[in-house]
């Protein structure tokens, strides 16, 4: 990467007293990228965002914005703007005052303030609401105003802290599309924090998966989906969740599944025989045979017919559970036995000892 990255984090550590919540995070984000930080609650994604914003200071490590070290520089001078989870609109000010407050503080020319505010209002279609107060707006409108407040500052980087979590499902989908469109139009670097992997998958250029203050994996959405680096990422990305089955590495290569059956897989590295592994299979890759023919037999414990897709929940004889996704409508009854075939080509194998994905020989796909 010859270009100066929009943001560079090196060895970021954050501790609150005895408690360390970030354990040395390294990350580079290039200009114009849409990066999503995703992870379960408490993974440190919001903390990381606040460190970037300058609302908190890291205990150690460097933060660079556009090649310039910004540690210790106040939030207002970093050239970033942030959309908060609660929107944090000033309740006693009109929408217009909310948008212009930051620009007035920077002693900007009145005409320029008006131009920027009107531009943002048009862009976000909030012009009719300019004289209302936040209390008189719906959730989606407040969301737009909050984004507008970020836009008018024309920041180097936009920071979004779970901005859609207060909206209902329908509005969330709509705003997701709008934020993506906004990114395409403005071309700014955006960093977006969410706990919702669907938002991450749909919006991101690159996803950063965090857990317990560490980066688990960084990559493009489909890379994470197709090549999860470890069991955590595999389980976190994708809905419905990847199926996990227990197994053991067999003596002569290959592995034996706890639910019966063996798989002839070879790895690019030496794996000791007898090592416990977890086999991960995406629900949509499993082959289902309604007449019971297959390498395994499962009992249908439940199913969801959504029209375009069908989810089948089954229990294997050894008690392990398997979810399948079919892109078709199929006749099912609860308690029915169905045949299941696990495709070798779409199987991920994770070492139980450290959760790492074992590299498959031949690099299938």
């Amino acid at each position: 990467m010859t270009q100066v990255p929009a943001l560079r984090l090196s060895k970021i550590v954050k501790s609150y007293g005895q408690l360390t919540v970030m354990h040395g995070v390294d990350l580079e984000i290039s200009e114009g990228e849409f990066v999503v930080f995703v992870g379960p609650s408490g993974c440190g994604k919001s903390t990381l965002l606040r460190l970037i914003a300058g609302l908190d200071d890291p205990s150690s490590g460097e933060i660079e914005v556009a090649g310039k070290r910004v540690n210790g520089i106040p939030a207002s001078e970093r050239g970033l703007s942030m959309v908060f989870q609660s929107y944090a609109l000033y309740p006693h000010m009109t929408v217009r005052a909310n948008l212009s407050f930051g620009l007035e503080n920077m002693r900007m020319d009145r005409a320029e303030i008006a131009r920027r505010v009107n531009h943002a209002a048009t862009l976000l279609q909030i012009d009719p609401l300019m004289d209302r107060r936040p209390g008189q707006l719906s959730g989606g409108q407040r969301q737009r105003v909050a984004i507008g407040r970020a836009i008018v500052r024309e920041p180097k980087i936009f920071l979004f802290d779970e901005p859609l979590s207060n909206l209902d499902a329908e509005l969330r989908v709509q705003m997701r599309v709008e934020i993506s469109a906004l990114h395409a139009e403005l071309g700014n670097t955006m960093i977006y924090v969410t706990h919702d992997q669907v938002e991450a998958m749909t919006m991101a250029d690159r996803i950063v998966v965090l857990r317990a203050g560490r980066i688990e994996q960084v990559g493009r959405p489909l890379d994470l989906y197709n090549h999860p680096a470890n069991r955590f990422v595999a389980g976190f990305i994708g809905a419905p969740q990847m199926n996990f089955l227990g197994g053991v590495i067999a003596a002569g290569g290959g592995l034996t599944l706890d639910c019966g059956g063996t798989k002839q897989v070879r790895f690019d590295e030496a794996v000791p025989a007898g090592a416990r592994v977890t086999v991960g299979i995406r629900p949509e890759t499993i082959e289902v045979s309604l007449d019971g023919q297959g390498e395994l037999t499962g009992t249908v414990t439940g199913f969801e017919q959504l029209g375009s897709v069908t989810y089948i929940y089954t229990a294997l004889p050894n008690g392990e559970k398997l979810t399948m996704q079919l892109a078709a409508q199929v006749p099912l009854t609860r308690g029915q036995s169905i045949g299941i075939t696990l495709p070798l080509a779409h199987t991920h194998v994770f070492l139980d000892a450290d959760g790492r994905a074992l590299p498959m020989a031949g690099g299938h796909r």
Binding site: L55, A75, S76, F84, S86, A88
Partner: protein
């Protein structure tokens, strides 16, 4: 009107529930008790303030301001009238013409020279309802020998003290509360507790030391000597701090991202959002300063031109006699401004709840 009645006759059963349950009886009983506790002394003061001097000095406990009718009697001057149910009076009122005894000498007003003897118990004072406006007008207009009570000067002093002290109180207390609620620093809790703990010390205990402080600052005897010591109140700091704790930190962070200075955050964000608590404190401060007596008395006693209304009222209490009717009337007058302030500010308390707009 119908709305008011519906409001006043609400029951716990809701709109349709006409039944009156135990809750309603208890609730209304409690509310009525509260209303009486507040209202009776005020009403008593008001009703008494329009009674004539004689009625007050005689401890007349009747609600109406009844005044004994007086009439000019030939050769005897203005005398109070009595009714005496006796055939010899022929329905005419009588006046006393001698000292009151078991058999008192009385005379009919149309025949004052003819003295009759009436048993004391049969004489009934003749009374009429009369609003004693002189109770109010004499001190205000300095009539009737009331030269010592400079109403408008006292009012001006009191207003000055109240307004300035309240403004300073609001400013200082809210700044302290902002720091104690929104900044993380070592000893934040200790300071808060220390400030609140001063509530435990009665003001009379620190009177002497406060006197020396004010004296050494050279503001003794001036109105500032009353204003400055009262500016910082533990109640105000605590009240505002607790309220400011409810303002989300995210708002302040948003303002910081918006390049607002800490002063601007305080002035443009925190203060406007604390308006409900500020109104409460303003009401309290106005009432405290308006009704303050002991400390202003100590500081200002030597200079009558700097007296406040409350000190001024003491002019009516002499060593040998008190003009209670003037005290009552002026008390009522001094209640009016505080009441108006309360009526004006109490709206903000309710609207404040509605405008805390964060979801």
């Amino acid at each position: 009107m119908a709305g008011v009645m519906r409001f006043l006759t609400r029951t716990a059963g809701g709109q349709d529930g006409r039944r009156i349950g135990v809750t309603d009886v208890l609730a209304y009983g409690y509310l009525i008790l509260g209303v009486l506790l507040i209202l009776v002394p005020v009403s008593w003061t008001f009703l008494s303030s329009v009674k004539p001097r004689e009625a007050i000095e005689a401890f007349d406990t009747r609600l109406l301001p009844l005044d004994q009718i007086e009439a000019e009697v030939d050769g005897r001057g203005l005398r109070p009238l009595y009714a005496w149910d006796d055939p010899r009076t022929e329905g005419q009122p009588v006046v006393k013409v001698g000292p009151t005894r078991a058999l008192t000498d009385v005379a009919r007003i149309d025949r004052p020279e003819e003295v009759l003897q009436a048993p004391r118990g049969e004489l009934v004072a003749l009374e009429e309802v009369r609003i004693a406006t002189e109770n109010y007008l004499d001190p205000i207009l300095q009539r009737g020998g009331q030269r010592n009570f400079a109403f408008f000067r006292y009012l001006g002093n009191t207003v000055f003290v109240t307004v300035v002290a309240t403004l300073i109180t609001l400013l200082i207390n809210s700044m302290a509360a902002f720091a104690l609620s929104k900044y993380e620093f070592r000893g934040r809790m200790t300071f808060t507790l220390l400030i609140v703990a001063t509530l435990l010390i009665p003001s009379t205990i620190i009177l002497v030391s406060l006197f020396f402080v004010v004296w050494s600052m050279g503001i003794f005897g001036s109105l500032w000597g009353v204003i400055i010591p009262a500016a910082a109140t533990p109640t105000g700091v605590f009240l505002l701090r607790q309220y400011m704790l409810t303002i989300p930190d995210e708002l302040l962070e948003a303002a910081r991202m918006d390049a607002a200075s800490e002063w601007k955050i305080y002035w443009r964000i925190v203060l406007p959002l604390s308006l409900p608590a500020l109104s409460v404190l303003a009401i309290l401060s106005v009432i405290w300063r308006w009704n303050d007596f002991l400390w202003p008395l100590i500081v200002l006693i030597s200079d009558p031109t700097r007296h406040t209304l409350q000190i001024g009222l003491t002019a009516f209490s002499g060593e040998f006699s008190s003009s209670t009717h003037y005290i009552l009337a002026m008390t009522v007058v001094s209640l009016i401004p505080v009441t108006l302030v309360f009526v004006y500010l109490q709206r903000f308390i309710t609207t404040g709840i509605a405008t805390t707009g964060l979801k």
